[in-house]
Structures are given as structure tokens and as C-alpha cells.
């Protein structure tokens, strides 16, 4: 299913015509061809990715830079003029369901993904499509939690995509033609891919989703030129591997620990940081006694080999679906090299990224699953927080205090901004049998009917103390990520469809636009011809905004 079939047909007709011209007047044709420039060299080098901060007009990877800060030094749009922001163009995917992309922008071209594994390249000034691609997905895929894709990675002349049927693909950045297509794993086992890959050097690094199906999670690296798989790190260790002893019996075979979100990279120590999701089944710990490594963990891997340098597990032996799959943000604080993560379990963790040791963990949303910490300061679960057959009310709820939506770190305000969800749910458990490829929760969760409506907030956290400096209240929980810019601004969306610019220092709203449907995406910014744009997906449209 390729939407670009029309241009292709016209192109082949053109070539056929040219061919006839060549046959009829060969010397003239050769003369004409000699005027064509040789193929241009690769657009995006590995060095450009390393230096992404030096070209703020472009957005070269999912989180904007290797540190995962989702911060831009662009300041044309700033707290003085944000009130006059206006829509510039919108692009409609016409797909159904959630539209979660963070687009890339490279030298005036915007590359995004849509529902059902759509991919598109647009003129970033006008929104007009250059090419469009849509994967022909098998009819029997059942990806958890929507037929979504969060974005692409780019290197050379290729953009890279993970698909809902668990393939990894490279598309030609100029045409959308498939350059290579490899099967990561058989989707019929419950595997899918929804996250944007991360390119490091010549490798495309990506993980699998599917923690709701009893998969065995992994993170892979593929040769960007050929698609050849270079390594695989199983997030659930097999027999003989360290950590295997944290699984009861054969439970490791269906242990889950998927990757839902793109990792980050520290070039100084040559370490890539990836996060993992829940052990399977998500809400029933019986049958998988132990810590269940490396579920709900932060992994420090060597990019060339996938070798594990260290790990940190946020929620041991989890029974509440507290995926740790939130972007691990790399921040320098004096001579300290830190990772900041606002975890789905409701705690904000500050970790030394050189050795993986916890510095502190503070709650940034309502938490009832934990009321104590171990000697290292890691929050530990209350015994009575486990799901029961009748149901047990626990905060955060099943969707977490936050989820896959990106936070941002602003080096000017030195604040970490995250979308928090204040939702508690009743967790119940059931001894569900495992069946390959079928949903495997061992549970149900449902809201407490008596409670006041759930709410949300965009919270500005001071990393050194864990204190919340300000918050912007959302009327209901939202799935929008957050962007910060050197213009002193923070951008985010809400479930009511507003896209909002806030003063990064005070949290005061400076501007908003009603998109007409909930925002389920993390915003980004770019510039073309000296004009700054801010982009966000909402409903089935990608919106861009700029100064008049």
C-alpha cells in the first residue's frame, strides 16, 4: 500500500519516454544527461547528529538531541512575542486513532509518521507533501495501545522506521522508496514497534513493544546501510546470563520488558541509555517471583556491541504496569553527569550516569504504591499495594503518573518539565493462562467510580531538590509531551485540544490554539529561511505555528 504509487507511475512513464528518446537519438540524449549533476552526497552525517545543537533550525532526531532534552536554542519566538503566534499550515494524515509523531526537519524538509505506519515528507514551509508511504500491514496485527508510530531517525539519504508488524525499514529520504526492510521478530508472538529509532554512528538502534502479550523484550542494532542486524540485547536474560536468577522457573521466556520509547546517547563515554517496560503479565506477580530484571529498568549499553555497562531498576517485581519507558534525559550539573527521569511510577529520579547510582528520588505526583525507600534511596513497593481478585486502589493508576510523552529540560531555567497525570485506578488480578500472541495482563484495572474526575498538570521540577516550582493545571489527564526553547517558552498540549505556550520561568500561559482534538504527541520546533516554526500533532493533523 503505497500512497506514492501515482508519482511512481508517472515517473516510469517519463523514463519510458526518455528511453525511446535515447533509442531514437542516442548522441543527443547522452549530451543532455551529461548536464545532470552527479548524485549528491549523503545529507545527514553521523557528525551532524553529534553536533545537532549547532544547527537548531533542524530537528535531527526524536528528542531533538542525543541528550534527550527536547530543548531548542531557537529564540525568534519568545516570551515577548508568543502571544502573536498564528497557524501557518496543517497536514492531514486522514488516518484514524492517535497521531503520536514527533517529526524530523532536515534542511527545509519535514519527515513524519502517522497512524497505521504512514510516513510522509513535506515542504516544511508550506506543508505540501513531497512523498508519502504507507505500509501494507497484515490484517491480524494487534499492537497494544493503538496503531501508532512516534517517529523516524535519519542518516545519510535514509530515514528509518519501526513498524507495527515488528519490521525495521529504511526509506529513501528523497522518494520514500523502500531501501531495506528486515523482520525484527515475528509479530504473531505479540510483538510490534511504535517508537522512533536512534541512530548512533552507522547503527540504527531500536527496541520492541509488546509487554501486554508475554513477549521477551530486546533492543537491536542494525547496519544503517544494509539493514543487517549487528547485535541484540535481550531485556530478559536467558539461562546462564546475569539476572536470569531474578525470574521464577520458565517465566523469563514470556517476561516482557519491552522498549516503548527512544533512548539517548552520551558520546563522551560512548554509552547509549535505553529504558524498558513492565514484566509480563503486567498486573500479576504470581508465577514470576523475583526482581524480574531488566524490566522497568534503565540500561547503559555500549552502542557498537550492545554490551551492558550497568543497569538501574526503578520498579522491582512490578504489578502495576509501571513501565520505565520515559526518555532518560542527560543533564550536566557542575561536574556531575546525570540522568533525569520522571518515571511512570510517580517518582522523579536523579541518577549518576557514569555508574548508574541513584542520587535521589522524589514523588512528583500522588503515589500510594510505595511508602519507604531502601538503603540506596530507591522507593520500594508496599506489600499491600498488590492487585487483588476484588481490586485494590493504587496511585498512580494504570496509565501512570506520566507515560511515553516526552518531558523537556531547559538549561536556561535549569528546570525539568513533565506532563503529570493524577489518576488512581483499582487494580484487580486474575490467573490468566498464557497463549502465544494473545493479550496477557493477568488483570483488569478500572477507575474508582466514586472519585472526583481525574486531572493532570504540566509540572516544572527543580532537579536538585525534586521540588515543583510551578504547575499548569490540565482539566483532565493529557498525553501531550513538552518542548522548551531558548525563547523562555514551554509548549505543551491538552486532552481538550489546546496547544499552549507558557512562560518557562513562571508557568503563565502566553498563547493557546484550539486544535479541535486531543494532543497525543510531543511538540518540536524548527526554522526555514530564518523563520521559526513550532509543530505538534493533534487529531489527525500536524499543525505548525509561527509569528505573523
Amino acid at each position: 500500500m503505497k500512497n506514492a504509487s501515482m508519482p511512481h507511475e508517472s515517473k516510469s512513464r517519463l523514463l519510458a519516454t526518455l528511453g525511446m528518446a535515447v533509442l531514437s537519438s542516442l548522441p543527443i540524449a547522452i549530451a543532455a544527461l551529461s548536464f545532470l549533476a552527479p548524485p549528491s552526497s549523503a545529507q545527514v552525517t553521523a557528525q551532524r547528529l553529534l553536533d545537532a545543537g549547532k544547527e537548531p533550525q533542524n530537528w535531527l532526531m526524536y528528542s531533538g538531541d542525543y541528550a534527550g532534552r527536547r530543548y531548542s536554542t531557537l529564540e525568534q519566538i519568545n516570551s515577548e512575542n508568543a502571544a502573536s503566534l498564528a497557524p501557518k499550515w496543517a497536514y492531514q494524515t486522514m488516518g484514524g486513532g492517535k497521531f503520536e509523531t514527533t517529526p524530523l526537519v532536515v534542511d527545509g524538509i519535514l519527515y513524519g509518521t502517522g497512524q497505521d505506519d504512514r510516513v510522509f515528507a513535506l515542504d516544511a514551509r508550506s506543508g505540501r507533501p513531497i512523498w508519502q508511504y504507507q505500509r501494507a500491514l497484515p490484517g491480524d496485527i494487534r499492537p497494544c495501545c493503538g496503531r501508532v508510530n512516534r517517529g523516524l531517525a535519519i542518516l545519510g539519504d535514509k530515514v528509518f522506521l519501526g513498524t507495527l508488524d515488528a519490521h525495521v525499514m529504511a526509506l529513501d529520504a528523497k522518494t520514500g522508496n523502500v531501501a531495506w526492510d528486515v523482520t525484527a521478530v515475528d509479530y504473531r508472538g505479540g510483538y510490534s514497534i511504535t517508537l522512533a529509532p536512534l541512530v548512533i554512528k552507522n547503527l540504527v538502534i531500536i527496541g520492541v513493544s509488546g509487554g501486554e502479550y508475554g513477549i521477551r523484550g530486546f533492543i537491536d542494532a542494525y547496519d544503517a546501510a544494509t539493514g543487517e542486524r549487528k547485535w541484540r540485547f535481550y531485556t530478559v536474560p536467558g539461562p546462564g546470563e546475569p539476572g536470569h536468577e531474578t525470574w521464577e522457573g520458565d517465566s523469563w521466556e514470556i517476561g516482557g520488558a519491552p522498549a516503548w520509547i527512544t533512548g539517548t546517547y552520551d558520546p563522551v563515554t560512548n554509552t547509549t541509555y535505553w529504558t524498558t517496560g513492565n514484566p509480563s503479565p503486567s498486573n500479576r506477580g504470581e508465577g514470576r517471583a523475583g526482581d524480574n530484571l531488566y524490566s522497568n529498568s534503565l540500561l547503559a549499553l555500549e552502542p557498537e556491541t550492545g554490551k551492558l555497562k550497568w543497569y538501574f531498576q526503578f520498579s522491582k517485581h512490578d504489578e502495576h504496569d509501571y513501565d520505565a519507558t520515559q526518555v532518560p534525559v542527560l543533564v550536566e550539573q557542575g561536574n556531575k553527569h546525570l540522568i533525569l527521569q520522571a518515571n511512570r511510577n510517580g517518582f522523579f529520579y536523579v541518577i549518576d550516569r557514569v555508574n548508574g547510582k541513584l542520587i535521589n528520588a522524589n514523588a512528583y505526583a500522588k503515589v500510594t504504591w510505595s511508602d519507604s525507600k531502601d538503603a540506596s534511596g530507591t522507593p520500594i513497593a508496599r506489600k499491600d499495594a498488590s492487585p487483588t481478585p476484588e481490586g485494590n486502589r493504587v496511585c498512580p493508576g494504570a496509565a501512570g503518573a506520566t507515560n511515553w510523552m516526552s518531558p523537556t529540560y531547559d538549561p536556561q531555567t535549569k528546570l525539568f518539565y513533565v506532563t503529570a497525570r493524577e489518576q488512581c485506578d483499582i487494580f484487580s488480578t486474575a490467573p490468566q493462562p498464557y497463549e502465544a500472541g494473545h493479550a496477557y495482563y493477568g488483570s483488569a484495572y478500572f477507575p474508582n467510580d466514586d472519585a472526583a474526575p481525574f486531572t493532570g498538570a504540566l509540572r516544572a521540577i527543580e532537579p536538585s531538590t525534586g521540588k515543583i516550582k510551578w504547575e499548569w493545571k490540565h482539566p483532565s489527564p493529557t498525553w501531550s509531551g513538552v518542548l522548551s526553547t531558548a525563547g523562555g517558552l514551554v509548549f505543551s498540549g491538552d486532552a481538550e485540544g489546546n496547544f499552549i505556550a507558557l512562560d518557562a520561568a513562571s508557568g503563565k500561559a502566553l498563547w493557546h490554539f484550539q486544535c479541535g482534538a486531543s494532543v497525543y504527541a510531543s511538540p518540536m520546533t524548527f526554522a526555514v529561511d530564518g523563520k521559526q516554526y513550532v509543530a505538534v500533532a493533534a487529531g489527525s493533523a500536524l499543525f505548525t505555528f509561527a509569528l505573523p
Partner: protein, 295 residues
């Protein structure tokens, strides 16, 4: 035919194989065209009465449906009680299949697999869920529990329900239309809504992409020029509010232009205690709602 083709275009990709096999079979094509949009009208549950399938269906139900319909399918704050034999959007196997697979347009019921919470089900799993729903279905009592005609008199008369509630086009607008409540909510829920209306506020507008529906919250505003209005919230976001006042006038406000805005989860509906409405009269009103809901 047009309805079939439009149907095919809007059908989710997941359904391709099912619908396609329907189209490809010449004989079935006629059937499809006639019964569109449901391609399952002729189908029976292959697991009907299968206790093992019902048990598997319970797991699916818990994962995909319980978030709104509650444990045991007795109805949650968001979804109807499914233990009632009479289902609002069709009670046959094929109608239930269609409701689960395609969702119910205009309601919070999404198509299979489109929800935030659930993971989506195969055709086989949907049938298992239907087996489960049948296994917990409660047969309607042989004797009607109340006197529906007396309930109707009370509804439009001394109980004054119709001041704020409408049934089949007749009554007030301030509260939810109750024409379908009898088929969508459990008796317990309806009784509780009358005895203690503030405990669970009724659900208002559901937006397509929004996770949670608006509730019938009570609102009091004072405008910039000092006018005061009290009523219910129809919808709200951070910057605006849309409300209906107690005289059924619509008001649309930008919040920053209001002098004050107060919201309360104390329902505008009075609590009918046994002194103001006896248990028998309450049962009669319930019987009326059930009768109307079944129509």
C-alpha cells in the same frame, strides 16, 4: 451498494480480511450488500454455551472492557451494565459482535483495539467475550418490579422529574435525556442516581479523542458586568466553559472575562429521600425507565 463501498472505505484495516472475504465471495457479496454495515448478521457465536470460552472471554473482558463496564460487566461509571438481557445497541450475537468490533458512533464506545486501555481482540476473542457476557447475563424478572404507568405519572407529575429530564422528546433539558437510561444502566445505578445524585455525576459530552467524558457538574458564574448564572457544565477546557443555566439558556464564556467561576460536584438534582419519594414510587419510576428503555 454505495453504503457497502463507503463502509469498506471507512472500515478499520484490522477488518480487511473479514470484510474482504465477504466481498470476494460472490454469493456472500449479495448478503453483505443487503445487511451492510454489519457483515455478521447471519453469524452465531461459535462458542455459544462454551464455559471454557466464557472463562477466556472473562480475561479479555477484564483487559479490554472492564475499564468502563466494570468487573463482572455490571456497569461502571462510564459504560452500561451488560448483565441485562436487553442491550441498547442490539442483543443478538451478531449485533454484539458488531458493537464490540465497530464501536458505537456518537458514544464513548470505541471500535475494537482503538482504546487507550485495551489491546484489541481477534474475532475469536470477541466471540469469547460474547460467551462471557452471556454467562453473566441476568434474566429479566418474571414480574415487573413496579408499576410503569404510575411511574410515568410521577415522572411527569408530582416527582417533577420532567422539569429537568426528557424522555422521547418530552421534558426538560437541564439534566440528561433518560430515554435510553433504562437499557444502559443497572437498576442499582438508577436508584442510586435518585437517592444520591451527587455520588456519581452523570456523564455528558464525550469527544472522539478525549479519554474522559465531561460530567454534569454544577457551575455558578458571575460575568464581568455582574450577572450571575447557575447551571450545569456542558463542556469545559482550560480557557472556556459552555454551560446551560437553570432556565435552559446556553452561555458560552471565556473564563478570563468572568468575575468569578465556581464549580461543585453537588448535583443540581435534588436527592429524593424516602420521605419525598417512597420506595414503591421509586420502583414505579424505575419500571417506567426500563419500559421506555426497552422500546
Amino acid at each position: 451498494m454505495p453504503s457497502l463501498w463507503i463502509g469498506l472505505q471507512i472500515i478499520r484495516r484490522r477488518d480487511w480480511l473479514i470484510r474482504f472475504s465477504c466481498v470476494l465471495t460472490a454469493a456472500a457479496m449479495l448478503v453483505c450488500a443487503v445487511v451492510a454495515p454489519s457483515a455478521f448478521a447471519q453469524e452465531k457465536n461459535p462458542y455459544a454455551g462454551d464455559a471454557k470460552a466464557a472463562k477466556l472471554g472473562e480475561f479479555q473482558f477484564r483487559a479490554n472492557c472492564a475499564f468502563c463496564h466494570g468487573l463482572g460487566a455490571r456497569g461502571g461509571g462510564r459504560g452500561p451494565d451488560l448483565t441485562r438481557a436487553q442491550k441498547r445497541h442490539g442483543s443478538s450475537d451478531s449485533e454484539l459482535f458488531r458493537t464490540i468490533n465497530d464501536g458505537v458512533p456518537g458514544t464513548a464506545m470505541p471500535p475494537n483495539g482503538a482504546t487507550q486501555q485495551g489491546v484489541g481482540m481477534t474475532e475469536e476473542e470477541i466471540w469469547q467475550v460474547i460467551s462471557y457476557i452471556r454467562s453473566v447475563q441476568v434474566k429479566a424478572p418474571a414480574q415487573p418490579m413496579g408499576d410503569a404507568s404510575h411511574g410515568k405519572q410521577l415522572f411527569y407529575g408530582s416527582a417533577a422529574c420532567s422539569t429537568c429530564h426528557m424522555i422521547q422528546g418530552k421534558g426538560g433539558r437541564l439534566g440528561p435525556d433518560l430515554s435510553t437510561t433504562g437499557s444502559a444502566r443497572s437498576t442499582d445505578y438508577i436508584v442510586e442516581s435518585m437517592r444520591n445524585p451527587s455520588r456519581r455525576l452523570a456523564q455528558g459530552i464525550s469527544e472522539a479523542m478525549k479519554e474522559f467524558s465531561q460530567e454534569y457538574e454544577t457551575i455558578t458564574v458571575v460575568t464581568g458586568d455582574g450577572q450571575k448564572f447557575m447551571g450545569v457544565v456542558l463542556n469545559e477546557d482550560h480557557f472556556t466553559v459552555q454551560m446551560m443555566d437553570t432556565r435552559e439558556n446556553l452561555h458560552l464564556f471565556e473564563k478570563d472575562k468572568l468575575r468569578s467561576l465556581e464549580k461543585s460536584r453537588e448535583s443540581l438534582m435534588p436527592a429524593y429521600d424516602p420521605k419525598s419519594l417512597s420506595d414503591k414510587d421509586l420502583q414505579d419510576i424505575v419500571a417506567y425507565l426500563l419500559l421506555v428503555g426497552a422500546q
